[in-house]
Amino acid sequence: MEVKQFNYGIWTDEVNVRDFVIKNITPYYGTHEFLVGPTARTKNLWEICKKATKEERQNNGVRSVDTNTISTVSAFDAGYIDKKNEVIIGLQTDELLKRTMKPFGGFKVVQKALSEHGLVPNETLTELFSKYVKTHNDGVFDAYTKEIKKYRSLGFLTGLPDNYARGRIIGDYRRVALYGINFLIESKKDDLAKIKGPMTDAVIRLREEVSEQIKSLNEMVELGTKYNLDLSRPAENAQEAVQWTYMAYLAAVKEQDGAAMSLGNVSTFLDIYIQNDIQEGLITEVEAQEYIDQFVMKLRMVRHLRMGAYDEIFAGDPTWVTEAIGGMFEDGRTKVTKTSFRFLNTLYNLGPSPEPNMTILWAKDLPENFKSYCAKVSIDTSSIQFENDELMRKSRGSDDYGIACCVSHQDLGKSIQFFGARTNLAKTLLLAINGGRCEITGTQIVEGIEPCNCEYLNFDKVMANFKIAMKHVARVYNDSMNIIHYMHDKYYYEKAQMALIDTNPSINIAYGIAGLSIVADSLSAIKYAKVKPIRNEDGLTIDFKIQGEFPCYGNDDDRVDELAAKAVADFNNELKQLSVYKNAEPTMSVLTITSNVSYGKKTGATPDGRAMGIPFAPGANPMHGRDSQGAIASLNSVAKINYEDSQDGISNTFSIVPKSLGADDSSRTENLVAILDGYFSKKAQHVNVNVLNKETLLDAMKHPEEYPQLTIRVSGYAVNFVRLTKEQQLEVITRSFHESM
């Protein structure tokens, strides 16, 4: 291939984007003062987008849907917002915000989603998918056991990707820009030739997968042709680098509607091209920012067709175009470049937004100017989140990574993740108290747990029973995951994304838990106070009477924080024992998205005094109002959850009113930097930051039309506040807003 202006390296001969970035990066240590505002073209386009999203909200969340076409990489003609103003082009369809059918995850889901808007798929497709074509969803339910269905319907296992696409896989979209697709095809062909017999299941499957990937790469070239772009060759300048990278991502979101489809960490990569063009006098800062603004605008316009029920677990119509920004290389240099700033600057140029889900990889050694700018952006927009670069880099052994979905490390182009939603750990604890029966229906879930008949709950006995319950829940959870991922590979394989990832990558399976703070406080109550179960005539515990006081998670009190850390370690250990499809490595997260509301609904009263049906705290957060010693004590409690026991991520959402963060702008920025440095030095993994007044949220509930871009961080991502259901809005408002006297 022809490489003119770049420093050579291993990357020149084989696919290795990291090497290219390492050899060519220009780290930036300066301030944000070089940044510029949006161009007139960008402003014009954004006005059209704002109008379209308004129409979307007014039309029950969907502006239009195509009911005749199965969306694939090369489906649909070229689409534009307003061609003459676009410097970065490409839409998922021929029309802005038009949603499409991607029926291979599950046709019934597509039908349901359409019917909620008074639509049906065209007759041919309906006939095909009813009679002849099988989907992921069909396959999963063919294989599910009665036991899995029981765990699922009673809410022990929730939000499983068995009727929607699993997502979480991050294609290394940079590859298309750096190498051009022809090179990638050749490289995959070489790989395919090397995959030889004996023809075991795994070998046959891999050969089929790589062949699919090659077809998909050809389809990407076709997609480019529709926009008059020659993606077969490498990008030759900054505009093309941004355009090629976006086309690769666009291919992915045309073919798949995975719950979360992250972008990776493209900003540092793109900076190399931009830096080159600026140095050569081809463009100025104005064009550089224009490319990034318009790229980000396109990412904001990505849509998938979802059914209403989906909103319960993933509220606000998220797409998780997560872009990891910043961080450090193993060699001690920072990955921060001017384009890291340019990405953040889009939150001013286009206003706050949940997407792309910008995630700052925070490290003590990041340039101070960048740290301050991130803190300022966070305070001004509540649109970004922070993750501990040092912790993840060292623990996971990779410095070129993206964030899958909300909080999970993923080595780019080298590894993928199997998404596993989560289990309800609070409900699992109740099994330990109810002789293995569901606390709401009385259904026997787990055998071998003796009912607690004593007047007061005994800590040791509950812990022993809890361990048995965990073991069984882990087993059934693992069974369901193996089925789901087997079927997803079979019926809805992510060929476009996998084409941009090494052949046969390492895989980790991403299990998860919800209800951690409830478990910790419940165990603390049983251990340090006296908890008397109130039982119904059927012997099921329907309530608890607590006598005495007990320490609550969120106050930096080791007595209870250790119980939380232990629950995480114990359940993770149970999961680690079980073998996984494709030999995936088991990992776990403490993350709820917005499902903490619906999980709470499905969970009876708990020994910590929480009444039946009350929402859980999100992610690894302490329960609202129980953290009485202020923000730092609360952060310190969460930091005690050991990342090694929860390598898929530990999500914490930190909300504070501006006045409490500091008396003026400069002290707020300074204090937020100090909080992040302090929190991450404690080996915490993740934090969402909201700097907002409760009154703003209350007013936005009353007058949503005045707050179309009000963004708020929830567990691991951000949403437009006005797109949440009323129930979810109220839950966000009830949550602890740190507010000192």
Binding site: D556, S628, Q629, G630, A631, I632, A633, S634, N636, S660, L661, G662, A663, S667, E670, N671, V673, A674, I675, D677, G678, Y679, S681, K682, H738, S740, M741
Partner: protein, 240 residues
């Protein structure tokens, strides 16, 4: 002890662990923590435990932050605070006391001179009558004696002043305060705390009568005027 705030951003420099001690001999009309006044309330806490809390917070303190002891009136427990602050200084943690400056005994002097990096001295009122009207007790120069002692020790001090329209926010009083302190070298800044009524519900909960019910809050202009006056005398004037 009354309570703990692990993220104090308005009680001294940087991010601070603020420990509110129980008990105060004054009953200021505008007190926004009236539940800390009763000297028989509160709970006991081991110094070890408090030190441990502070040490756990150290990574958040950055260059500026540390521990602030507030109240109530912390100097009522000067003797105990000596051992606390001594331990904090061994840990390299910045120490700060928020006080009305009425106590200046042997223990207080040791605490202030040897272990307290910063004192925030509350100037209630420049006149004897005004002081008594606000606090319920005579001043007898205690505030000024305290300030003189701090100045003589050469260690840092901030002044704090609650601005109440018509009571303390009166130009001639502000000039008087400025003239009195203008030559003090240890004063880094003066913090103005505009009067607000956020503590009223606590007065109600205690069954006490809140006498300033009809007093209004400052207008922005009134605050700005006060700042401008004080800028003539102090290096730094900050509205908190």
């Amino acid at each position: 002890m009354h309570s703990i705030e692990s993220f104090g951003t308005h009680d001294g420099p940087g991010i601070r662990l603020v420990i509110f001690l129980q008990g105060c001999k004054l009953k200021c009309l505008y007190c926004h923590n009236p539940d800390t006044i009763d000297t028989s309330g509160g709970s006991l806490m081991h110094i070890d435990e408090l030190v441990e809390k502070a040490v756990k917070m150290k990574p958040y303190f950055s260059e500026k932050g540390g521990v602030t002891v507030s109240g109530g009136e912390p100097l009522l427990q000067s003797k105990e605070l000596i051992s606390f602050f001594k331990r904090l200084k061994q840990e390299g943690i910045h120490t700060n006391i928020d006080t009305n400056g009425r106590i200046l005994n042997h223990f207080t002097k040791t605490l202030l001179d040897d272990y307290t990096d910063l004192v925030m001295l509350d100037i209630k009122h420049m006149t004897e009558e005004g002081y008594k009207a606000i606090t319920g007790v005579p001043n007898n120069e205690t505030t000024f004696t305290f300030a003189k002692h701090r100045e003589a020790s050469g260690k840092k001090m901030w002044l704090r002043y609650v601005l109440i329209p018509g009571i303390t926010n009166i130009p001639e009083l502000l000039h008087q305060m400025g003239s009195y302190f203008k030559n003090y070298k240890t004063i880094e800044k003066i913090e103005l705390q505009p009067y607000h009524k956020l503590g009223i519900h606590k007065w109600k909960a205690l069954g006490w009568n809140y006498q300033l019910k009809d007093t209004r809050e400052n207008t922005d202009d009134e605050i700005n005027t006060a700042v401008e006056i004080l800028k003539n005398y102090f290096k730094k004037v900050k509205v908190n």
